[in-house]
């Protein structure tokens, strides 16, 4: 058993590592990708370009505009002089928001009354728009409060001290609400899945296409020996990649690593059972490498979408939520985010680990069951 397995492993490693291009794909690409994607995948909204249409031109309007500029959330990129320009800047995308202050703004305020300001948003990117709207509301609320304070101290001679309710909020696990901390572990999960699924889905079908499979099938090698020989090398490569990417996440992107790192590898090991199981299963049901590649992509796309990588599972329709329970990525994301950001241990993460174990074992058994030492 062990001699055959050992020979299979030696052979697989030679085949994978001897090819310089393969080495680059396995070890350079994931690193380069996590760096690029780590910068790119970011839903933080800062420096939203905005235009100002100020018809009043009074100290009050200048104060409000200055508050927008000073918030860091908005950059005033243009001051508009005519009505049609509003359409123009929003159409061209030069600005994503327009603040319009009508004539009489200051006058209305000074009379102790209320004035209106119009805030126009480009809603085509709904995420940015809603975040920008939140910022704008906060800025106008601050503006209101300081205005009220002024009025009170002037008329009543007392300082208005506090609002009835003060909400003091703090985000745990990610104090700055830095979306990178959330996404970089996700990118790790995705890259490792792509790598191991593609590698393993090609592996058996390649031998079939080249003709070496026929030779293997007339040898007394066992099915388990063969399947393990195809699984273990890719699992080791996957673990090495996870280590590399985790190092970059922690030391380059400063993603906090609060948990116990070996736990990450335990979770990864179980996760790889599933991805490799899926890959090998695809390989056993495909007759050409092209077919295998296509099938792998058809699996991966929904797996990423329905994992909670970007879109929260809680927001999905119930039926789709049920589907996500079959998705290994779903559990793995909970594990790595838990280990990285929350410092969770096995006492919390064990259900995810068990789920990955079950999924992985099922997929590998299915693949081994599909694999026959006879031709169809």
């Amino acid at each position: 058993m062990f001699e055959r397995l050992y020979r299979m492993l030696v052979k697989e490693f030679i085949q994978v590592l001897r090819n310089p291009r393969m080495r680059a794909v396995l070890f350079v690409m994931p690193v380069a990708q996590v760096i690029v994607i780590g910068y790119a995948v970011n839903t933080d909204v800062r420096h939203v370009p905005m235009a100002v249409y100020d018809l009043d031109r009074t100290p009050a309007t200048r104060d409000l505009i200055a508050r927008f500029e000073g918030s860091g959330c908005f950059d005033v990129v243009r001051r508009i002089a005519t009505e049609p320009e509003i359409q123009e800047v929003l159409d061209s995308g030069e600005a994503r928001a327009v603040l319009r202050l009508n004539r009489g703004f200051a006058e209305a305020l000074s009379g102790g009354g209320s004035a209106q300001a119009q805030f126009l948003l480009d809603g085509s990117d709904s995420n940015t728009a809603s975040v920008a709207l939140t910022y704008a509301s906060r800025i106008s609320a601050d503006f209101n409060r300081s205005l009220l304070e002024q009025r009170f101290s002037r008329t009543a001679g007392v300082r208005l001290d506090a609002e009835p309710i003060v909400l003091v909020s703090r985000a745990w696990f990610n104090a700055n609400l830095d979306s990178r901390n959330f996404f970089v572990p996700g990118v790790l999960a995705m890259l490792v899945a792509v790598l191991t699924i593609i590698l393993s889905s090609m592996s058996i079908v390649r031998e079939r296409e080249v003709g070496t499979m026929e030779q293997i099938m007339v040898t007394p090698i066992g099915r388990l020996e063969f399947i393990l020989g195809k699984t273990i090398p890719f699992a080791i490569i996957g673990l090495v990649d996870v280590a590399l990417i985790a190092l970059i996440a922690v030391f380059w992107f400063r993603v906090p690593m609060l948990g116990f790192p070996p736990l990450l590898f335990l979770g990864t090991g179980l996760y790889l059972l599933s991805t490799l199981g899926v890959g090998l299963f695809i390989s056993t049901v495909s007759s050409t490498q092209q077919q295998a590649m296509m099938t792998a992509f058809f699996f991966m796309l929904p797996a990423f979408m329905l994992s909670g990588f970007v879109y929260p599972i809680a927001n999905m329709p119930k039926v789709v939520q049920v589907l996500t329970y079959l998705n290994p990525l779903r559990y793995y994301l909970v594990i790595i985010r838990g280990v990285f950001l929350k410092g969770l241990g096995l006492e919390v993460l064990w259900p995810q680990m068990v789920a990955l174990c079950l999924l992985g074992a099922t997929m590998l058994l299915l693949a081994a069951g599909r694999f026959r030492k006879t031709m169809s």
């Binding site: 030679i14 080249v210 030779q215 040898t219 007394p220 090698i221 031709m375």
Partner: protein, 324 residues
Amino acid sequence: MSTAQDAFAVTLRDLERQFGDFVAVNRISLDVRQGEIFGFLGPNGAGKSTTIRMLCGLLEPTSGQGTVAGLDIRTQREEIKRCIGYMSQKFSLYDDLTVEENIDFFSGIYRVPKEKKAQRKTWVLDMAHLQEHRHTRTGLLPSGWKQRLSLGCALLHEPRVLFLDEPTSGVDPLSRRSFWDLIYQMASEGVTVFVTTHYMEEAEYCDRLGLIYRGELVALGTPGEMKGSLMADQVLCVSCDRSHDALGVAATVAGVRDAALFGHDIHLMTEDAEHLAPRLRQALEAAGFQVGTVERITPSLEDVFVSLIEARDRADGAQQEFKA
């Protein structure tokens, strides 16, 4: 296991394999003795490879029985794999491994005993003349060398029965010759060799031949028997000018069953060569051809197979042509 079966390295009884409606191998029965070189001949698609694959445990028979080295091909497939060597027409070693790595791989998969590993490796390298190329990537070797290495890897575990499925297709004649020297050597050491081919000159090297056509065993015997008793027709060899044109005329002469070009000569199948010869010369000369010799010859194996296959086609009433 009965003694009768022990004498035979391979036995087939009504072995059949269907793919859907298509009968690839149709109830074939034959026996191959220990140490024999058995040639399995037939045109492409006749069922040669399908038969070999059933014997090697790569395909399950639809019906019928078979044994290899005394083991049942239905129930003892994994045991059979331990004592056979198999090499197919398609080169099937790992191109990206070196010669030595390929040998080590198969040596490990076949679990060649530790103390014998080095000796077997040397044997393969010597046999394939690859001592100096042991660190060369297999993919870079010429095809004749690859075939020798393939054979070597199939023999690492010293199998008792060796299955070769068109082992020399795409190999130059010189390499083919030296390949057959190796096969003879194997046979002299007691290995049973079951080989398929469609090269007629290779068929002559075999101890016994089976001809398979459209899934059926058409003839079985030594090359000598094939040319003698199995051949119902006699062969006339005619040399004349413009033989290509003359072929058309010759084919229409009464008593000619079939006519085919052989180099510049025409070979004619007939039931009675003696009576046909003068009539044929007459007919050709009347048509304006310069006729040289017209003589009865010992048929070549190719003649035999063409004749047997056409007889089968006539019997079947089918129009399919044999492409040699």
